[in-house]
Amino acid sequence: MTASTLERIAQGDRSAVAECIDTYSGLVWSLSRRFLSNHADAEEVVQEVFMELWEKAHRFDSKVAGEATFVSMVARRRLIDKRRKLNKEPDSQPLGEVEHALCEEGQAVLEASAETQRVLAVLETLQPEQQEVINMSSWLGMSHSAIAEQTGIPLGTVKSHLSRGLHTIREALGERGLAGKASS
């Protein structure tokens, strides 16, 4: 089996570094632009994300998640932290007018990801309202309260949509249940 880009970086293959940037910079940039409206902030986080990827490449385990998912997780964590520090919500826009910008490279990576396709299929099985809540939280980076305010869905329902939705997606990723994490 061919090693992934991050696995090759962890093994010391320098040729994989530029490949990783070419492959994922678009995806990380697109995420950053969703979470942070300020260009300078978005660029700074993209640089931080890649620095973290170089440092943590050895932690990527292809048996746990796909590479695009791992990269997005690192990016989202950084973005969530950054936004908490800035104490900002992403720009709130009416439904239907929300921009779904995704760069060309990012789109190609995701289209090629079997895992993303699998999760996409799972999303399609959820109720439209739940799909929208997951979209607003995971991709647009909106807080639970902002989603409730914008959609008119009660906050408790937003939270339960997210909780159930994430558990369904986790199961689609093929991992054991959270209950399996209890060490007792």
Partner: protein, 255 residues
């Protein structure tokens, strides 16, 4: 699933979707320990996978990453993998020919060495600030002003400078030997004295000096537009800062 403490689930979902406050993070850590439950990134991965799927599903417009950003990423990677951080942080000459020129070289070199030695996980953001400051210095209409000799003995050893660009409304403070503050009791606050404003100085943002940092770079966060600053001054205020400061001015850079 029924065996799992619902608070743990709630906090893991919250962490994966909008992040945790310090108190929530502490509560999660305590609950995980109390319930002998291994921390897991599964929901973080699920949220990331959902983000990717939503991005693909909703892609209607295309937005490319800026070319200069990709170049920066490759430069960062070169620095990281070559282990040439001292070389990578080789300071650029400041655009002045007075004493600040030599000072700039010396302090930037010290910073480079310090960063090389520490090699901590925050390297990326520090590297970014350093390179952003360098880029700003290289821009036209950027001014570099040294901090003056402070009157307060506690701040007598503070050196550094302020980099400011009116056109971009962007700037950085470089502070060396600034005394550490306890953010729970006081925070530093920057003020910008604007020649075009008759009113109070413009709030330039609050900041902290963490223990163990001999030199820091802090972005200036001016709350109002600044045009032709006459001076930059730092005061020590209550946490969160104040609207109008009563001083004293601890460190001042006069244009």
């Amino acid at each position: 699933m029924n065996d799992i403490n619902p608070q743990i689930i709630e906090l893991l979902v919250l962490r994966a979707t909008e992040g945790l406050s310090d108190a929530q993070a502490r509560a999660l850590k305590l609950l995980l320990k109390e319930h002998d439950f291994e921390d897991t990134t599964e929901l973080d991965l699920a949220a990331a996978a959902a983000a990717n799927a939503c991005a693909l599903r909703g892609a209607a417009q295309q937005e490319d990453a800026p070319e200069h950003l990709q170049d920066k990423l490759k430069q960062d990677a070169d620095r990281f993998f070559n282990g040439q951080r001292v070389v990578a942080f080789k300071p650029k000459p400041l655009p002045r020919e007075d004493s600040s020129f030599n000072w700039g070289w010396a302090t930037a070199a010290m910073l480079a060495v310090a960063m090389f030695v520490t090699n901590n996980v925050d390297f990326g953001s520090e590297a970014t600030l350093e390179s952003q400051r360098d880029e700003l210095i290289a821009r036209s209409n950027t001014t570099v002003i040294d901090w003056g000799k402070p009157d307060d003995p506690a701040y007598a050893n503070v050196t550094g400078n302020v980099v400011w660009n009116d056109d971009l409304q962007q700037g950085y403070m470089l502070l060396s030997n600034m005394p550490v503050n306890d953010p729970a009791s006081t925070q530093y606050q920057l003020w910008v004295v604007d020649s075009d404003r008759d009113a109070n100085p413009v709030d330039g943002g609050v900041f902290d000096i963490p223990a163990g940092e001999t030199m820091v770079i802090i972005p200036i966060n001016a709350k109002l537009e600044v045009s032709g600053p006459e001076a930059f001054a730092i005061t020590r205020e209550k946490p969160g800062g104040v609207v109008v400061s009563k001083g004293p001015l601890l460190v001042v850079a006069a244009v």
